[in-house]
Amino acid sequence: MPNKTGLVFFPAFDWAITPTHPEREERLLYTRDQLFEEGIMDLPEVVEYKPRLATYKDIARVHFCVPDIKAQVTEAHLIAAGGALVLADALMKKEIDNGFALVRPPGHHSMRVVHGNRGFCNIHNEAIMIEYLRKHYGLKKIAIVDTDVHHGDGTQDVYWHDPDVLFISFHQDGRTLYPGSGFADELGGPTAFGTTINIPLLPHTTDEGIHYVLDNLVLPILEDFQPDLIVNSAGQDNHYTDPLANMRFTAHGYALLNEKLKPDLAVLEGGYAIETALPYVNTGIILAMAGLDYSCVREPDYRPENFKESPEHMDYIKDLIAYLHEVWKNREALAEQRQRRTGGYYERRRTVYYDTDNIREQQEEKVKLCAKCPGYQVIRSRGLYPTRTERTVLAVALPWQACSECQEEARSVYQEYINNPRGLDFVYLQDKPRDTYLQYSVSGRSEMQL
């Protein structure tokens, strides 16, 4: 029996942020040409699926959309997320061994609260897929490896407090690239400390450096974590020709990475070298996932000797790996310490910037610290829009793992805010144990349920 790789190819040839934006109709055009000319869809190892539309409920399992889901998503978003869901179903029904959702628009910069588009993303395709799998197929432990050149700050935000989701992102250092986060000391909230791993790499890191990180840090940690599912947040902008970043990764490097990582599901993220990288990188990833020979996939100007690492880079990488190994080994003890240090609730404040839509968001987050479960979170978020208007929302997030006391408490917190919504425009409850999602409109005095 050959390996079966499911493929959803949704290039959204009729969708763009703006006509000349990197996230435009043309983005996967040459990839289409290459894949079709290769006859990839005819291979016995490849099964092509048609995407479907994700539902609003699928989205509400992850996001608090302001003012509502409809305002934040277009049909293209629903189809991109739905493409990932189609593969998730096919994987669970054992129709395929693994799957690649080659879809756009991307999603890994979308956080839980969504006021607008950040880093070309509105909703988080992988998180929507993962929460769907947890709800419908009872998966528990998930690992997400973000291979995009940008820090997957959306993914980090969604799973910051979730000890059952391991998020590993390697990316170009936040000091030199959007979104400016993803430093090695960002390791997760107090209830999930150590299950967020950030590996910031220096500009111009090559195949050799990235594979060193993969072999010596990412794969050992995955082996240790023993996830039920591995997801590749598959950006392609580490490529040496990408116009928006400065790394030196190749199509061969990406293919080999997928061969080693063996993701169950991969979802396309960024990658904007639409001619010089994407046709080759995508072909390489698909062949690698399908267990086929990708050694003949190469960029026209590819010379292996050009992608060796400098000694300074290697020293930096080795030092970073040693630090993160130490954290990983001691993560439980470190989490314990942090919980004790903060007491009954943990709080953080931060601002989030939405580059595409020019929105500033101020966020206060409160996490209930519970001995029996990862607790629940209350987020107060104020969005300041370029129109000089603003909205303030309060969102209660109740995770799958919440104990019965936390469940009751979180639901009553939501009720209290509804009863006294001072200064708020909307109040949300994301009740995952009941798979029920509520949004209360203060001005309309009405509650919507999904």
């Binding site: 043309e26 289409r32 006859g39 005819d42 048609k50």
Partner: protein, 564 residues
């Protein structure tokens, strides 16, 4: 008067049509001696019936290509590939006599990314000569965007070995899909000479009979071509039989409706779909002898279930097995079959009624059912199975990948209005099937020669798919391998469309398509090429056609006769 002839594997069918009326129809078993004999045995009575009146055209559908490929009597061909980066070319399993791989590469925009190596070309030719192969197919990846590598290799071969017959991939098909292009090019060259011989023989016998009517041949996509035009790509005439049947149903049912074409034979049930009056095509091309090709063909499905399928009882339940061991029991066969059930249920009059009862009785004994009840159960099961297969066919059409938002939103669940039976056993189960599927069951008059009617009435079709690259100032036509500099600047989508329509009219004229035939825009897409933040050019993908269909005057004349 029009003549349609379909020389199939089992039967040869022919009709003579005049002003929307079937004047004469012939159904005879196909002669084992050969296609030509069968063709003549069916043609001669029609000519007699025509009584010397003018015959406007003769359309032929044959299994020639199918037979050549099935019996592996195609001519030996050497395949020379220029694959460039991508899949490991060593993994290709093309059925060429010999395969050779050359360096050199063209990219998706048609730019050379790796030059050819002359010493390799030379060595390749030596090897071909040493093998004694006379035919060579040269196929490059992305040759439809830039054929210079194919041309260079071909001209080297031609000048150093003028005896070789050479074909290039871009001449055969320009649709994206290199492996399919290789297979299609290979088959084209491997069948060309034998097809040409057949053509000459047909011309000869027609000449002997003093027939001067133009001769056309039916293709797998339901269009006809002047016979001479088919000589360049004979492989397109494969599977013309099922295409003929589908067109026949199109001609015999009300215009614009959605129908299932059902042909129940002895061992298989063949299905095809007509969606709102348009036959459904196989999305990427026909599968021939287990190889994927770029031959445009109707989407057909063959289910291993027919009038002669074996019935048995296993674990107290009735089963219809996918194989055949001979004719029905009522016709002297060894095993009970659905045909026996039809006989008992009084849905057919063929065969020995007593024997049919006998085998149904034996079959029903284990189930505690009477012969009549057993027969009803058999038919019910058969109908359920066929209905399920039809449903699956619609479902897989719905699930065909789509790459644009509007396509995904637009494709809705549709189900047939009619199920139309044309095969031998179809009329018997048709009413039951209609009931099961909740649609009309139609067994139109002349259904048994629907294929010949379809052939007789098929229009000449022509499709041209253009690709414009305004940055490179080039345009390409997939179907005929045209790659030229743009003669005029293309500044807008409308201008591009006009260019395509004008070209289609010109090419149509060469095939004898009248200038008042309706043109159709199949799709039109524009992509802005942006480099930096500036638009540097546009890519237009535009496809126009004279669609596949039935001659309009037939439809006009038959409008009142179509059973509602």
């Amino acid at each position: 008067m029009l003549i349609g002839l379909d020389v199939g594997g089992t039967y040869t069918d022919a009709v003579l049509i005049d002003h929307g009326e079937v004047i004469e129809k012939i159904k005879i078993p196909t002669k084992p001696e050969g296609l030509l004999e069968s063709l003549l045995s069916a043609l001669d009575p029609l000519l007699q019936a025509a009584g010397g009146r003018e015959i406007q055209r003769i359309v032929l559908s044959t299994t020639l290509i199918t037979n050549l490929i099935a019996t592996n009597t195609v001519d030996p061909v050497a395949l020379v590939l220029i694959p460039g980066p991508g899949l490991n070319p060593g993994s290709y399993k093309f059925k060429a006599t010999q395969s050779y791989i050359l360096s050199g590469a063209i990219d998706y925009r048609g730019r050379e990314i790796e030059p050819l190596k002359e010493n390799e070309i030379k060595a390749c030719l030596e090897a071909i000569k040493k093998e004694g192969i006379k035919r060579v197919a040269i196929v490059g990846k992305f040759s439809q965007r830039n054929n210079s590598h194919e041309q260079a290799v071909a001209s080297y071969f031609a000048s150093h070995a003028p005896e070789l017959q050479i074909i290039m991939g871009h001449q055969v098909t320009g649709r994206l899909n290199f492996p399919r292009r290789a297979v299609t090019t290979l088959l084209t060259l491997a069948t060309r000479e034998k097809f040409e011989n057949f053509y000459k023989q047909v011309l000869q016998v027609l000449k002997e009979r003093g027939i001067t009517a133009p001769l056309y041949i039916l293709k797998a996509d339901g269009g006809t071509l002047p016979f001479t035009q088919s000589l360049t790509k004979p492989v397109e005439t494969i599977f013309s039989g099922p295409a003929a049947s589908t067109l026949g149903v199109l001609a015999l049912t009300p215009k614009g409706q959605t129908s299932v074409v059902l042909d129940i034979g002895g061992t298989t049930t063949d299905l095809a779909l007509i969606l709102s009056g348009k036959p459904l095509l196989a999305s990427r091309g026909a599968k021939i002898n287990n190889d994927y090709t770029q031959v445009r063909a109707f989407a057909t499905k063959s289910v291993a279930l027919g009038g002669d399928s074996i019935l048995c009882v296993k674990n107290n339940s009735l089963e219809i097995l996918p194989q055949r061991e001979g004719p029905a029991y009522c016709l002297g066969g060894p095993q009970p079959t659905p045909t026996d059930a039809m006989r008992v249920a009084a849905l057919t009059e063929i065969g020995d009624e007593r024997r049919a009862y006998e085998c149904m009785k034996r079959l029903g004994a284990d189930l505690n059912l009477s012969p009549k009840e057993t027969a009803d159960l058999v038919l019910k099961q058969m109908v359920k199975k066929i209905a399920q297969e039809i449903d699956d066919m619609f479902l897989s059409w719905e699930q065909e990948p789509a790459y644009r938002i509007w396509e995904i939103l637009q494709k809705q669940k549709i189900r047939p209005q009619n199920v139309v039976g044309i095969g031998g056993a179809a009329p018997a189960v048709l009413p039951l099937l209609g009931e099961e599927m909740g649609c009309r069951a139609l067994a139109p008059p002349h259904a048994e020669v629907a294929n010949a009617i379809g052939a007789a009435l098929a229009k000449v079709n022509l499709r041209l798919s253009f690709h414009f690259d305004t940055e490179r100032n080039f345009y390409f036509i997939e179907e005929n391998g045209v790659q030229e500099k743009l003669p005029i600047p293309i500044l807008s989508e409308d201008q591009a469309k006009d260019f395509c329509f004008t070209r289609l009219r010109q090419e149509g004229q060469k095939l004898g398509i009248s200038s008042d035939e309706e043109l159709e825009l199949v799709y039109s897409e524009v992509f802005n090429m942006v480099r930096g933040w500036r638009t540097t050019g546009k890519l237009y993908d535009i496809c126009v056609q004279f669609p596949t269909g039935i001659m309009e005057n037939w439809l006009e004349e038959r409008k009142d006769q179509c059973a509602e």
